[in-house]
């Protein structure tokens, strides 16, 4: 057969049509053949990253054909990034765990029935809880999606240990914003006249409709400034790319505030009315001049003045992108850098302003009332988050995800459930992370044979693919500004290919085996019904539409005030607090001021660099690195290469395409180099996607290297993050491919 690619010909359902199709299919026949297909469209949500864009999944003869962006969903608006397409195609990928597995030896597993798995896990968990108490149980996950089904168990057995991946991702930002603003706002890209993306690659970590708004705003005359040591994808559409010495962003932000305050460019009326602690801030930072910052950032003082003035001149239709991963788990000063993000935006008076920062619209879901509501008293958190004397200032809701081996070694944690999280690859120091296996019971709930499952799990309980499961409705919010609230739903488009289950069924099975018969005595449909009750949308309507926009409670460009007309943010004073209340504890300053990075490359050494990383627009960090559709892009476009400034490369005798060796105290690894003008000379950059070492994932295995190989597990003192760019490496020519 010529037409291997048109696999639909093989499907039995079109035998009649196929009989009419000639031996080889010409392009003109394609249309005719396509029209005879049995194509179904199911509205659901993407899982290419954590943004959960609305999508339409098109099923052709029972197989996934393609996906497209949901036209209503505020994040996709009919458009999708490469990840969204690739993730869908990987439904049929080879890396998926085909059914429940039990470890027989290091890296070796045998299939086991669900009943047997539930029975064994339930018994072991009961035994551990009896011996060590329920607080020795840890639920470790990417974030939030599993919480709904973790909580009943955590509450029942009395464990406070719910930890998300956020300490490896962006906790410095959420922590600072929570303490200073009481929540997070989003840039109103569509209406902005001036946007600063500092350490924020909006075109790498993509919200498709957000990018659409940014490029449209630019067409309408908005100016885009990108400050990043690397020419990131968003820099491509910037009016100005300002490379900055990595680790010095705090200094730049302090100096920008200095210009705005000393030149009286800030919004005084706004500050007076809505800001607490302005004088303390200024008192503390009067000496942070552009000249002072030039020394630290490498950006000319005049350039700092220029962008500060432009920023102020365009305010309030100007903002500094609040950002996510970019600067917010990278350095010892990341929390202060995030704090300065709040302060700069406040000085521009752009909070709750069109073209500035706007809140997400709210959805008031109903709540499903659980039947089994017995709660057991919980002990202290094992990660120390929020505990005086430990990590008092770290958000307990997110926790510290990258020191689990310590918690196990200290005897605090005996059993671990890991849900859609792969710390062996996405947290620092994989050899250290491997010690998670020292826990008495490790259960991983992934979809694929990720490193954490293979090297630490005693049991692997594979969850159904996102296209194979239905989840409760979610409010669509975050990242970009949108006036009306939206709700969307993830629902099953394809029949499960393998012996997998959705999380709720897995939890029901495990807990029943533990003797908790009513803990998950409900279905997703029960929950959905209860949740949608007050919303005014029926489950049927939502399932049909996938994403629904509610014409209620539109957000307005108004600063929240209470009955007395006083500012009413969720902070201690109701105002934007330049001094974070919580950060004053332990003698720490609540006000951000300069803190130098923990380590610096020695500029006199030709081979020393800071190792920085970033998100490629076609990979979701390591999650998609085994996706052959996306790795095809990696291979065609040299995606695994380490970027090095051409001047530095020349001094080291390194040429574009050469194999180079990167070494830190922890690891020595070798990859090809991309020699370029598009990166700061003092750092080298790699994508966060690669370095797979699970030999059960053929596509990602040994593909490229990962920044986590080179950094020890450190804890940033304020927000508990990994400080993943506090690492100096040496780079030399040569090495084995």
């Amino acid at each position: 057969m010529k037409m291997k690619r048109r696999s639909f010909l093989k499907a039995g359902a079109v035998t009649a049509a196929a009989a009419a199709i000639p031996f080889k299919l010409s392009i003109s026949d394609f249309k005719e053949a396509a029209e005879n297909e049995d194509v179904k469209r199911i509205a659901t949500t993407c899982n290419g990253c954590a943004s959960m864009c609305g999508i339409y999944a098109y099923m052709k003869n029972g197989r996934l054909w393609r996906v497209e962006g949901h036209p209503v969903h505020l994040k996709s608006k009919g458009r999708l990034c490469a990840r969204g397409h690739g993730m869908a195609a990987d439904l049929y990928g080879k890396g998926r765990v085909p059914g429940p597995m039990k470890k027989i030896s290091e890296g070796e597993f045998e299939p086991i029935s669900w009943d047997q798995a539930f029975k064994e896990i339930g018994e072991k968990l009961n035994k551990i809880n009896e011996e060590h108490g329920g607080n020795s149980f840890l639920w470790l996950e990417h974030g939030v999606r599993g919480k709904r089904y973790a909580d009943p168990l955590l509450d029942r057995i009395g464990s406070s240990n719910y930890i998300t991946h956020y300490s490896t991702c962006f906790s410095s930002k959420t922590n600072a914003w929570q303490q200073m603003v009481g929540g997070m706002l989003n840039g109103d890209h569509a209406h902005a006249k001036y946007m600063i993306f500092e350490g924020r690659n909006f075109a790498g970590g993509i919200i498709p409709n957000g990018m659409n708004q940014i490029t449209k705003a630019k067409e309408n005359g908005a100016k885009i400034v990108v400050i990043d040591p690397k020419y990131s994808e968003i820099a491509k559409i910037a009016d100005d790319w300002i490379p900055i010495r990595p680790g010095s962003d705090l200094a730049l932000r302090l100096a920008m505030a200095h210009v705005m305050i000393s030149e009286n460019l800030y919004d005084k009326a706004f500050v007076k009315k809505y800001v607490d602690g302005f004088d303390d801030y200024w008192h503390e930072n009067k000496d942070k001049t552009p000249e002072w910052a030039e020394e630290l950032t490498g950006i000319p003082a005049d350039k700092i003045r220029e962008i500060s003035r432009e920023f102020a001149a365009n305010a309030p239709e100007a903002f500094m992108e609040p950002g996510w991963h970019g600067l917010h788990c990278h350095y010892i000063n990341s929390t202060q850098t995030a704090q300065m993000g709040v302060i700069l935006n406040a000085l521009a008076g752009n909070f709750y302003k069109r073209g500035g920062l706007m809140p997400s619209a709210n959805v008031d879901f109903g709540e499903y009332l659980h039947k089994d509501i017995v709660e057991t008293e919980k002990g202290q958190r094992a990660d120390g988050a929020g505990i005086e004397g430990q990590y008092m200032t770290v958000e307990p809701g997110r926790g510290i995800s990258h020191t689990v081996p310590d918690m196990i070694a200290d005897g605090k944690i005996k059993s671990v459930f890991i849900y859609h999280f792969n710390p062996l690859r996405t947290a620092p120091d994989p050899e250290y992370q491997k010690k998670i296996k020292e826990a008495e019971l490790v259960v991983s709930i992934p979809v694929d044979w990720n490193e954490t499952s293979v090297y630490t799990a005693d049991y692997i309980l594979p969850e159904s693919y996102y296209l194979e499961r239905t989840e409760v409705p979610t409010a669509v919010s975050g990242h970009i500004s949108h006036d009306y609230p939206q709700i969307s739903i993830r629902q099953q488009a394809a029949e499960p290919l393998h012996d997998t289950k959705p999380l709720i069924d897995i939890m029901r099975g495990v807990t029943k085996a533990m003797g908790y018969n009513a803990l998950y005595d409900f279905t997703v449909d029960d929950e959905m019904k209860a949740m949608l009750e007050p919303v005014g949308v029926s489950p049927e309507q939502l399932k049909e539409a996938g994403t629904v926009e509610l014409q209620t409670s539109a957000v307005k460009p108004e600063f929240p005030v209470n009955m007395q007309g006083k500012p009413a943010l969720g902070t201690y004073t109701g105002k934007i607090q330049f001094s974070a209340e919580l950060f004053r504890i332990d003698g720490k300053k609540g006000i951000p001021t300069w803190i130098p990075p923990k380590v610096e490359p020695d500029r006199s050494k030709a081979d020393q660099f800071r190792l920085i990383h970033g998100k490629q627009p076609y990979h979701s960090h390591h999650v998609t690195s085994n996706n052959p559709h996306l790795v095809k892009i990696t291979e065609k476009y040299n995606g695994t290469a380490v970027w090095m400034n051409s001047e530095r490369a020349e001094k080291l005798g390194i040429k574009d395409g050469d194999q180079v060796t990167i070494a830190s105290d922890l690891a020595t690894k070798s990859i090809p180099v991309k020699v370029t003008e598009l990166i700061h000379p003092e750092c080298v950059w790699i994508s966060s996607a690669y370095g797979g070492f699970s030999d059960k994932l053929q596509t990602s295995y040994n593909l490229g290297v990962n920044y986590n190989d080179f950094i020890p597990a450190m804890v940033e003192p304020y927000s508990g993050t990994t400080m993943s760019q506090e690492v100096v490496v040496t780079v030399s020519k040569g090495g084995e491919a």
Partner: protein, 180 residues
């Protein structure tokens, strides 16, 4: 019969590659085949350096060298301007591949040089093909060149446009918006 064209605003492309994979899925392409690609250019010296990205795919030339050289007329120009392939007639001589100055052809498992087909069924339905409809930055705009009220014509009137490899006489039907 409509005359189709494609206008590309390369300055807006941020290199996410969604176009390539959306196309591959829509057209159910084999793993080795992609109908569109991006070319990257670096200009300038650090710190005043920039990157340019140019999306490329079959230009559906008005004087298509691939069709001229095809011994069996397997590649032919349709009335609407789309350069199409009758895979039945293809002998697999790859002459079209050597003739195309844009490297637009990709050999499939059946040893037939495929290429972007401009998804006429979408254009006829007044829709954008997958490469365009998925693009967050609206880099591509397909449309009717012979309809003065079409969006593509309106946009082309607003901008200066250029084409690639015009010196080879191919008369391509993809236009690129010129930016300073």
């Amino acid at each position: 019969m409509a005359r189709y064209g494609l206008l590309i605003d390369a300055s807006k492309c941020t290199g996410c590659h969604a176009c390539s994979i959306a196309c591959s899925m829509y057209n159910e392409l084999e793993e080795e085949v992609t109908y569109n690609r991006l070319e990257f250019i670096e200009r300038g010296k650090y710190p005043n350096a920039v990157m340019e990205i140019v999306p490329l795919q079959c230009m559906h030339c008005d004087n298509p060298p691939c069709a001229t050289v095809c011994p069996t007329n397997a590649t032919f120009k349709r009335e609407d301007g789309i350069v199409s392939i009758d895979e039945n007639k293809c002998i697999g001589c790859k002459y079209c591949m050597t003739a195309c100055p844009y490297d637009a052809r990709q050999l499939n498992e059946s040893r037939i040089p495929e290429k972007c087909r401009w998804c006429p069924e979408m254009l006829e339905a007044g829709k954008q093909p997958a490469c365009s409809s998925t693009c967050m930055n609206e880099v591509r705009l397909f449309g009717k060149l012979d309809d003065p009220d079409s969006e593509i014509n309106k946009k082309m009137a607003q901008h200066e446009v250029s084409q690639l490899v015009t010196e080879k006489g191919t008369k391509p039907r993809i236009y690129y918006i010129k930016r300073k």
